[in-house]
Each structure stands twice: as C-alpha cells, then as structure tokens.
Symmetry: C2
Subunit: 341 residues, 2 copies
C-alpha cells in the first residue's frame, strides 16, 4: 500500500480559499505530486462541508492575507508591482493567486509576462493559474502567453505552464468516472430490476439499478443511493463482488463500474419517474433468461458472480474504514475479510 504510505504529507500542501470557501491544494511536480495526488486522504482540504475531523498535518494551517497557507512551505508573494501574487509549491512550482488577478486584460497580460520571466529566472518549473469564471476574458491572454488548459469545472478553468526545457511532469487531470450497480435479492430469490426510460436499446430489457457516484461519495453509499432513487427500496451494503474497467468513454475518459451486493431493508417499489420506466422483483432465472445475457459474456459473468455471492459460494470485498498517520483522516480500504488475515 505504498501509495498510502509514501505520500507527500500535508505539510507539503498549500491551500487557498476560493470564493466558495473551498480551499484547493497544490503539490504539483509529477515526481512527487502524482503520488501525492494518489493519496487524497493525505491532503484533505479544509472543506467547511467536510464530514471529517480537522487533524494532523493541517493543524499548522495559518491564515494569511485571506489564504490558508501551510507553513513552513510559504514564500512571500512577490512585491514587484508588475508581478502577479503567487506562492511557491513544494516542487519548485508556482501557484498564482486567482483572487488577485488584475481586472484589466492589459494589466494581466503585462503582469503575467513579467511574472513568467521572473519565475524562469528563479528556475521555477510548473506554474498553476486558476481563472475564475467571472474573469474568463483573461483566458485567451494566458493561452497567448503559452499556458495550456489543465482541467475545468463549473466556476473556473485551471491552466498550466511548464517552464523547464524538459518533459512536463505536472499531473494529469482526473481521468475516471465511477459507476455502481446494485444487486438486491430477496428471500424468494427475486432480484430487484429496472427498465430504463431512455430511447436506446438499454430500455428494452430488465437490468440492475445503476448510476454514478456523486462527488466525494463512497462506492457503497452510491450503490445504496442509486437503488433507493430508482426503486424506492432501502438497502444496506454487504460487499463489492466485482468491477469492470472500461476505456475511451465519452471524451476519452475511462470508467470503473463496481458491482455491489446489497441487502434489502424494504420491498415496496416506488420508481423514479424521470429515469425509470418500470421496476420489479424478478426471479433470477427470468433475469438471466433474457436473450441479452446469452450474448453478453461480461454481463452474464457479473450476474453469475452475484448469484454465487448470494449462495455463499463467493466472497468479494468489504469496506473497512481505517485511519492514516499522516492526517488522522479516515478512508475506506476494500478487501476480502473472509480470508485469513
């Protein structure tokens, strides 16, 4: 579990408050950050909405000029008039303060140019520039100065500039969507199935409830929520029995789909009119008897695994919440507890 233990710990992070009060982090040079990024729980931002306690490395957070900055990793903002306010990160990179960008396009252009020269002179590597939506007129200027898009979400776009004359080591943007499928079976060996309300082929037959997990939602919670939303049935999570990894989904993103075994706590069905045409409890044989399953090896195997798990011939992964030393935060480790460990 090296990536759990080798992370750049919180002290290497940097957090600043956005307008929506969601601090962001910045450990960026790939040689560390792509590992650091692989350990979210080691760099938990200070989210007001965070359900997690505020522990460990974050205890040395200091408020400064409206920013949360982790000491001792702060270098004073440049005082040069023509330079942009920015902070160094742990990896010889620079994070520009998105809340101090000039409102004038011309002022921004000259300040950005002067700042880049200054950072090149100082031997800096990656430059991070977050431009909030209300200042989108600055985007083409940054592009003109050689910045590239890195990622975006509602409210802002993040651009980067790699200074060294060597391959860029900045981390990639998020690459995966996480889907969940809920296998819910009652004492009569009837499986909870739905028919989708969509104009495509998937609306033609009965299938398990599925969907995407929400932002920062756990896999098992997502499966329980999707089943509840689509069918009205309450469940509890038993185990994750298998998952599929697919590539080149829309816009070249990849996709992980986790099949979760859920135990029903209620049986009355109330469908989500927006998404679902119909839902019901269907005998297993009838579910697998649909022509589709005879031709789709992936789906057939997955259902067979679910049935084996229900008949105690198979054990998948449970989710065990464990704490890490670095930040005192809890994350879920998925593994097979039925094994002798």
């Amino acid at each position: 579990m090296a990536a759990v233990v080798d992370a750049c710990q919180l002290g290497t992070g940097f957090y600043f408050q956005r307008l929506i009060e969601e601090p962001r982090s910045s450990s960026w040079a790939k040689n560390c950050s792509f590992k650091w990024l692989s350990k979210g729980f080691l760099s938990k931002p200070i989210l007001k909405s965070s359900p997690l306690p505020f522990h460990g490395g974050m205890s040395n957070v200091q408020k400064k000029k409206g920013f949360h900055v982790l000491s001792p990793n702060i270098s004073s903002p440049s005082t040069a008039v023509e330079s942009l306010e920015a902070w160094d990160d742990e990896y010889d990179g620079v994070i520009i303060n998105p809340q101090s960008l000039p409102s004038s396009a011309n002022a921004f252009a000259s300040a950005l140019r002067a700042s880049l020269s200054h950072w090149k002179f100082k031997g800096k590597k990656g430059v991070w520039l977050q431009i909030l939506q209300e200042q989108s007129d600055l985007v083409p200027i940054a592009i003109q100065e050689g910045f590239n898009y890195h990622h975006a979400e509602s409210g802002y776009v993040m651009l980067t500039y790699w200074i060294p004359d060597e391959p860029c080591l900045l981390p990639a943007s998020p690459s995966h969507q996480i889907g969940v499928a809920g296998f819910v079976i009652n004492d009569k060996k009837q499986v909870l199935v739905v028919k989708e309300k969509c104009p495509c082929r998937c609306s033609g037959f009965w299938k398990l409830p599925t969907g995407y997990i929400n932002k920062s939602e756990d896999i098992f919670d997502g499966a329980i929520r999707e089943v509840k939303e689509e069918t009205g049935v309450d469940t509890i999570f038993l185990e994750m029995v298998a998952f599929r990894h697919a590539h080149l989904v829309a816009f070249e993103t990849s996709d992980l789909l986790f099949v979760c075994m859920l135990k029903p706590l209620s049986y009355e069905i109330t469908i989500d009119e927006k998404e679902i045409e119909d839902a019901k409890w269907m005998p297993i044989d009838e579910l697998l008897g649909q022509p589709f399953y005879q031709e789709d090896h992936m789906s057939k195997k997955a259902i067979e695994i679910c049935i084996a798990a229900y008949e105690n011939r198979y054990s998948g992964f449970i989710a065990n919440q464990l704490v890490s030393k670095f930040d005192g935060q809890l994350s879920y480790l998925y593994y097979d507890e039925s094994n002798q460990i």
Copy 2:
C-alpha cells in the same frame, strides 16, 4: 452488472473527428448518458490508435462533411446563416461543431445567440460547446452568453449550457484519479521497496513503488509499468488484493488506489534517477518494522493483506477480459476466480 447491460448502445452515440483524429462522443442527458458514460466499452470512439477491433454498433458509421456520424441519429446541420453548425444528440441535446466556429469573435457572439434562441424554441436541453485552444478568444463570449465550464484538457475546454428551467441533468466531468501500488516479493521473502526523491516526509522511509495509471491504461499494466520505471524490475500481474478510496484530493478530485501483487521476472535494480532516491529488496519484517507502519493502520493493513496473499492465505481479484454484446469490445472484469463460480 446492470451498467454493463443497460447502456445506451452505440447507435445512440455521435462521433466527430477532431484535428488529432480522435472522435468524441455525445450522449448527454443524465437520464441516459450518466449511465451510458458508465459504459465506455459501449461507446468506444473510433480511435486510429485504438488497439480494439471495430465492431458492432459502430458498423453503421457514415462519413459526412468530414465527420463520423452515426446514422440514424443525425439531424442535418442548421443552414441558417447566423446559426452555428450543430447536431442533435440522443437526449434532446445539441453538440456544436467545434471545427466550424466563426473565427471572428463578433460573428461567433451573434451566431451563438441566434443558435441558443433557435434551440430554446425547439425545446432542446443540453448544449455542448467544445472550444479548441487556438480559438480561446471565444471562451469569454460563451461565458457571457451563459455557458459554464464543464471540463478541459490540453488543447480544448468544453462548455455547457442547460436550457430547461429545471435542474441540469448533464453528466459531471471525470472525478477520479487511479493510483497503483506494486507489491513485489522474491523467494527470500524480500519486498521490492523504494525511497522517493522528494522533499516531503514520504522520502524518509522505504515503501512500495507507486504511481498513476496512464490514460486508457489498465490497472495491472499500470502497476507493472510503475515498478519497471522506478526500479527496473520486470514483473507479471498476479492479483489485485485491495484498494483504497479517498476523497478531496487536489482540486476536490477523489482517488482510488489499487494494490497489486506482482511476480518478479528479474531482480537487478536500476532506479529512475528523476523520481527515486534508492531502491532495494528488503525483508518483510524490516519493511513493517519501520515506525511509520506502527502508526498508520491503513498502510499496515494493506501490507498485511499482501503478505497473506503471498502466503496463500488470501485471494484478491484477477482481471478477466470479456466481450460485451453491444460493441464486441473487450473490457476487463476484476473478480476472485478462486471462488466456486
């Protein structure tokens, strides 16, 4: 495995060629696409670089005006002078042709305004606007017209506009990074470990090789590659024994880290000077004897699971490549084959 079986099949997709010849897809309204998006293998774009055969639903692809368009889901581009060239998607949405945007900012502004009025009148829902980097001067105009950032990557930014007076059902952008850790152990019960070359706490002790998977790379391939890059040791994948799900990583993304058991095929160590300070084969007891593991429950548990797997007291998930009916594409299903299924 509903999300494998319920996808909107390829006939619902739409693909157009980008400058780099990578077609993109567009099934967008949440009630279908957030499921469709959860089934990459059901919507495999026509990538010239794709290692996968070109089968199934894609066989009805027609080339039209430099675009790959899936019949019968095409509506002719608007011929109105002041409107932008666009295609309907399967979900009452519209995809604007990013390669036909006016070069003049003023022409784009008036065309976009006219097009939005037209689409509102037609009862359209989601509007997708991809703006290539070379036309970044159009970004602030789109924002001004009410578009929001959806996602971005090097070369372009994608913006969206939700027309209906109801909650936006467009899918979210990718939310997760996928990390891998390689547990490699030799016949002398020595584990392949590294010390990271970074200024943070993780550089202080020995750990397993870790990293992120590349775009469209499989988990087991990513683990093998990272071990090879960091240590020079060749391995083969045996099983994925556990994974950790962490939230609120940099920029609010989440993180899945898969721990992979790998069998060494070579033993000589050649470190990656850029990332790694040192690497060696270390006795298991010595690895776990490091003070860190006594305090980090997450890491300790993960290592204990790896040891149990090595001693045949634990079985994780293997990766089995299976084909799906919809597109004839192969994807990997991860599950425990040691169970009776």
